[in-house]
């Protein structure tokens, strides 16, 4: 290994910071803690990534560990697999959600299956970071939510933090995981701030969390939609409705126990995600919760999400994406049963 002198250490005391900065701090901590951790991707070096998530890391850890790659996503993931086989723990950045598909084969065919194919002999501790979701007025291929396409694949774990603290800790845990983790970062929440406590004891990576207790209905979401659901719960409270909000945090595995416990209390469930509703994670949640909670449910599980259409041009995304009114409309429909 080349030696490096980090000019700035990762945080050691609780600090309020943006979600993007929290991931940056988490990567910094991982790079400090384990010489096998690598950061690789397009523009992650000098530029610090197009969202500045890797800002300053190459300066402090060198080009050997924070690696600007050729612009070839399959190559990025494919070489990360090779590095993992050699004992490294690569954290690769896919610049935008819509750019991951050139790497889809390497992720689905190679990364996901290699541990099983080797009968457990090799491990693939690769984290694939993907800024995802819309709401930032971007051009085509910069606003997609492809999490279901990865959750459908055995061998992958899929997570998405909703806030800075989770982003920090879930990244730590994803890097420590011996399984490949697809880490979906809610890009529209990159600038939202929250306190990150580097001494906290984090809960399990794949455990959902009740972020707001309620009695009338459960809203379940992850990533960028958690904040929206909290806003919806605030608005519903003004009408005297008590909504529970779950931050699922992990899409694969899904924490059905926490969802079930909530639904057994509230008897109603709405799943909210930006991804198209059709074959989305909400469909799987609806099916399984219906099995688990059939006699508790007062209404069918409803879903609010994107339409079965290509992600629209930016001027239409407000119509396409779940917003406060669409969530509240679903709440009305559920409570009308």
């Amino acid at each position: 290994m080349t030696t490096q002198t980090a000019t700035s250490a990762s945080i050691s005391v609780p600090k309020n910071m943006a979600l993007a900065k929290a991931i940056n701090e988490s990567l910094r901590k991982a790079l400090e803690a384990d010489p096998k951790v690598l950061v690789m991707g397009e523009d992650v070096g000098k530029l610090g990534g197009v969202f500045r998530v890797t800002d300053g890391l190459q300066k402090d850890f060198g080009e050997d560990r924070v690696i600007d790659t050729p612009l070839a996503e399959s190559g990025i993931v494919g070489t990360a697999i090779g590095l993992a086989l050699r004992g490294y723990r690569p954290v690769v950045e896919i610049q935008f959600d819509g750019f991951v598909f050139p790497a889809y084969d390497q992720i689905v065919t190679q990364l996901a299956k290699m541990h099983a194919r080797s009968l457990g002999k090799v491990k693939l501790p690769v984290v694939v970071r993907i800024p995802y979701g819309g709401g930032i007025g971007a051009v085509e291929h910069h606003s997609e939510s492809p999490e279901s396409l990865f959750a459908h694949v055995a061998g992958l774990k899929v997570v998405s933090p909703s806030n800075a603290s989770d982003a920090y800790w879930m990244m730590q845990q994803a890097i420590q995981s011996d399984d490949p983790v697809i880490f979906f970062e809610p890009k529209r929440r990159y600038w939202d701030k929250a306190e990150v406590n580097p001494d906290a004891i984090p809960g399990p990576l794949h455990r959902a969390r009740v972020v707001r207790e309620g009695t009338d209905l459960t809203l379940a979401a992850y990533g960028p939609m958690v904040k929206l659901c909290q806003e919806a719960a605030d608005a519903a409270a003004e009408e005297g409705r008590s909504l529970e909000v779950l931050d699922l945090r992990s899409v694969s595995p899904l924490d059905f126990d926490t969802i079930q416990a909530s639904v057994e209390r509230t008897r109603r469930l709405i799943v909210v995600h930006e991804a198209p509703v059709f074959f989305g994670s909400g469909a799987e949640i609806a099916a399984r919760i219906t099995e688990r909670c059939f006699y508790h449910l007062e209404a069918p599980v409803l879903r609010v999400g994107g339409y079965h259409a290509p992600y629209p041009p930016a001027r239409l995304e407000e119509e396409y994406l779940p917003g406060l009114d669409r969530v509240l409309d679903a709440v009305d429909r559920s409570l009308a049963y």
């Binding site: 190559g75 070489t79 090779g82 086989l85 541990h115 009968l119 457990g120």
Partner: protein, 409 residues
């Protein structure tokens, strides 16, 4: 099939006017009879073929590559011969086992023994190999028990060996993907400051894959210690090489900024020398090399394939004259004191290997049902646990039925 043959048939193409080359006669890689006067249109230099041992078993001098086999002993030459013979025997046994229904499929390496044994024997113990699904000869050189290769073809696993035991990665079925893994692994070797090298196998068909181009790019940019060993066996199932490329494959390396060389893939000595040269370049930090081993797939693509639908017997016959094993035998018989006893013993060893492979495969048990859920994740996954439990309960539900039926009887 060669690139030059494409040019010969397509007269409308702009060609390098007036330049004709007897590519067939010099290059052992061409079929010779049909295109002795093929015109060259690649614009580059005429494909050069490294050959140390002619099809007739005559040693040819080569200033650049001779040093890499200069100190080879007669015993070592006999060792290479033994490797090739046993590999061919193993391969034939596997084909038979497929015909007998013991294997679901087999991808034969018949004809490619020299390319695989030559390159495989060039590797050092600490080097790492990333194969396709046909590198049975390389696996042999790496010390992988040949019977371990058969599990996936029998359908009892999807890769039956520990890659790190012999530094021989699992077979990769989706073509070309492993060239990126090899490149990443080589990047890691360089980061570790080790002087090991990595070798990635692929074929003429895979050369069209984007992943191979990306592997060339990444390895060149990072100067990774990797050798790309392309066995151009002329056929990607039914598609000849001319459906993959308009330039000789080894020349592609130039565009990526590293050397490429074409070696007679049926010349085990040539393959050994060229691969050693390439691996040593990698060890010295001089980056990647592309080796195109010009050879021929004598058999079908796999046991499911029917080559009579797309190629003629005369092509195969022409290549039979360049058989890798026959030419080394000629050399051993004429230039060394190898006696009949050696060949007789090897024949017996061959038969014993075939017998052992047969017995092991026939005794290979079906996997436990719960293997479905094994090793899906290293750290576990709640859904896999849940589904395993459901599956167990479902299986257990038959126990009651069985028990009741037992009582009734």
């Amino acid at each position: 099939m060669t690139v030059e043959s494409t040019a010969a048939r397509k007269t409308t193409r702009r060609s390098a006017a007036g330049k004709t080359g007897s590519t067939g006669s010099k290059a052992a890689g061409t079929t010779g009879t049909r295109r002795a006067t093929a015109k060259k249109t690649t614009g580059g230099s005429e494909p050069e073929l490294v050959q140390l041992l002619t099809p007739e078993g005559k040693r040819v001098k080569n200033a650049q590559y001779d040093p890499f086999v200069a100190d080879i002993t007669d015993d070592e030459l006999r060792g290479l011969y033994r490797d090739m013979v046993l590999t061919r025997r193993f391969d034939a046994e596997a084909t038979s086992l497929q015909r007998q229904g013991e294997l679901g499929l087999w991808a034969s390496l018949l004809g490619q023994e020299a390319a695989q044994i030559g390159s495989g024997r060039a590797t050092r113990e600490d080097d790492y190999v990333f194969p396709t699904y046909r590198e049975h000869g390389v696996a042999w050189c790496r010390g992988v028990d040949p019977t371990n290769l058969l599990g996936m073809f029998r359908g009892v696993n999807n890769g039956g060996w520990d890659p790190n035991s012999n530094n021989f990665h699992l077979y990769t079925i989706v073509i070309g993907s492993q060239t990126l893994h090899a490149t990443g692994y080589a990047m890691g070797v360089a980061k570790d400051g080790a002087d090991s090298a990595v070798i990635a196998y692929f074929g003429d068909g895979a050369s069209s894959q984007g992943d191979v181009a990306e592997a060339f790019t990444f390895s060149a940019v990072y100067n990774a210690p990797v050798v790309f060993f392309c066995q151009n066996n002329q056929w990607a199932i039914s598609e000849p090489t001319e459906k993959q490329t308009r330039v000789p494959l080894y020349q592609r390396a130039q565009g990526f900024g590293f050397p490429g060389v074409r070696v007679d893939g049926n010349d085990v000595l040539g393959c050994l020398a060229v691969t050693k040269w390439a691996l040593e370049r990698a060890r010295r930090g001089e980056g990647p090399t592309l080796v195109e081993a010009y050879t021929y797939r004598m058999g079908a693509h796999t046991t499911s394939d029917d080559p009579t639908r797309y190629r003629h017997d005369d092509e195969r016959v022409a290549w039979e004259a360049k058989d890798p094993i026959a030419r080394l035998r000629s050399y051993l018989e004429s230039e060394t004191d190898t006696n009949e006893g050696f060949f007789a013993e090897l024949e017996a060893e061959s038969e014993a290997l075939g017998r052992r492979v047969r017995e092991v495969v026939r005794a290979m048990p079906d996997p436990d049902h719960f293997a479905i859920f094994e090793n899906v994740y290293a750290d576990g996954h709640a859904l896999v646990d849940e589904e395993r439990a459901q599956f167990a309960a479902y299986q257990a539900s038959f126990a009651d039925v069985d028990a009741e039926e037992g009582e009734e009887r």
